[in-house]
Amino acid sequence: MSITEAIMAKFKPEFWATGGGEPGSGRRVLNFRRTWEQAILLMLGVSLVPLLALAHLDFQVTRNHAENEMALRTGRLLNDNMRAVSFFLQERRAALQFVIQTHTLAELADERGLALNLEGLRSSVGGFVDLGLFDGSGRHFRYSGPYSLQDLDYAAESWFQEVVTAGVHISDFYRGFRDDPHLVIALRRDMDDGSFYILRATLSTEWFNAQLAQFKRSGYGEAFLVNRQGIVQTPTMNYGEVLQRVRLPELPSFTEEFRVFPGVDEDGRELIIGYAVIPDAPFILMVIQRKSEVLRSWVQTRLVITAFVAVSIILIILVILGVTTRLVNKLYQADHERIKAMQEAEQVGKLASVGRLAAGVAHEINNPLAIINEKAGLMRDLLVHGNQETRLVRMPVLLDAIREAVERCAVITRRLLGFARHLESRWQEVRIQDVIEEVLAFHGKEAEYRNINLCVDVAPEVPVFVSDRGKLQQIFLNLVSNAFAAIGDGGHIYITGTMKNEAQVLVTVTDDGTGIPAVDLKRIFEPFFSTRTQRGGTGLGLSITYGLVRELGGNIQVESAVGVGTRFFVTLPLNAAKLQDGREENANSVG
């Protein structure tokens, strides 16, 4: 035996082996296994479905809430940082504008003048690395700063081209001649004579890096700048190198000014991506958050709730299994006890009916015995007192009378023996008329003495069918005994047998006795219900009869009117044997 089988054997409740029903028996009230299954399913259904539905609903609602919250916060952070970056650039541009409008070219071109302005800008608005002046041909004719870039020719640089045409230029971050990421702001100053010069300032990336690094410290992902082509401008941990393309599977089109939307990174992790276009600059601020990170606290709460729900479900299942199994087992045991009690009562009932028959038989046998006694006595008297002639004439007649009386006794004992033999439960071919007449034969003398009219009318089309003769005998013995008890001297008992339909025989037992009150009528098939308890009734007769009829696959009904009489309807199936076979197979299959 494997371990699982051993466990099953240990926990398997008693009722488990009862299997699926016992057709035709009518003894078991319930199919306990099915009852158990139904109770378990029902209880699990009503307890788990609402719990799971609630848990699911809660999951959806809190998740939506958390995601909305996240989108809102992302939007706010994005907006704040975008304003900061935009303001920073505008401020620098405005400062440069101020410089070229408040100084003449001569003042700026003076070597000290440019350095003084650089110093002033650094100490006031800050962020400047160097300043440079360019003439219309792109020659860098004056420079102030840490690098030596003076006199280099910038005519071919794209920023120079653009500032010449547009008057102002804010560049992307680039490495340029100095090979270090930086950006430039360049302004064109037109002279009265039609010529122009250009003031160019270089801004270091420090401020941007510091500003955007703050964001990272907040723990909600990363913020960085890209240009419109998606080239990363400021450092980012996860989304590409500076001046490389941003590492996202799908680059947003940047057609809108401001947008927050879900996306995925290259490893397929879910992201919340937000971007905002910085006005008057070639930059786009991106804020990228990993969903798993921002939802972490929600996920943790979720885990606790899920664990709680799981433990609850396990407990509910265990409790339901335990309680239901216990209850059904109790039911089964009670039913088992009931069946045992019924079987004992049936045995008692059988014995009682045999006892009653035996008493009747003793009486009937006593009469022929008395005749034998007197005839034998007379023969002796004649032998003692009579003459030879009398003896010769009388003896044969007397002996015949004795033999006749013995024959009467034999008939009676044979009848009783036959009846007793059939009391053993056995399926055989039965002619219902024979059974009824056999039962009535036992009541013949009583009927004679009490002047009771017995009438049997079985329709000729009722066939011989297979049934349990012993049970049929008991059924009709009980019904006829009841009828005899109900009627007075000179009453009538009328028994009919007809075909109810193709498959069923209907036998009615009618008496014109006292009748049964309507209140009692509903209960007469219940065990221990008796109106004759004071007179020796056990209250089991009709309940046993009911059980026997059910065992034969039939059913029994009653109608009665007080003072008019009572009629029992016994319906018996012609194919009860088939039901019986099915039952036995079933009994075998469960061991």
């Binding site: 009469n367 007197e374 007379l378 007397l398 009386a405």
Partner: protein, 120 residues
């Protein structure tokens, strides 16, 4: 002494009557209650022996009617039925279980009872 035997078994009453005649008693017999009642209207008997279980009119009922028609006769009940009810009813009716006999009866004990009730 005149005896009337009442029993629905013809063979029994006739044989019993004959045996009583052989013993010097005047014994008449009847096989039904009606028959017996008819007899006592014409004849008086010292003792009437009656079977309790008889068709139509029971032995008890026959005895009651006889009491009315011809009071003062003595009765002995005889039955093949040993039931408690019959025993109670029978022995009360004749004033004691001594006069309630169970079939089959030995003729000696029947004669003894007859002598006893008739006071001879």
């Amino acid at each position: 002494m005149r005896i009337l035997l009442v029993d629905d078994e013809y063979e029994l009453v006739t044989t019993l009557a004959e045996r009583m005649e052989l013993r010097g008693l005047e014994a008449d017999w009847a096989t039904s209650g009606d028959d017996a009642l008819a007899r006592i209207t014409t004849t008086s008997y010292d003792v009437v022996v009656i079977d309790i279980k008889m068709p139509k009119i029971s032995g008890i009922e026959v005895k009651r009617r006889m009491e009315k028609i011809r009071p003062g006769m003595k009765y002995i009940f005889m039955t093949g039925h040993g039931s408690e009810g019959d025993f109670q009813e029978g022995s009360t009716e004749v004033g004691g279980e001594r006069y309630y006999l169970l079939k089959p009866v030995a003729i000696e004990s029947l004669l003894e009872k007859i002598n006893e009730v008739s006071g001879h």
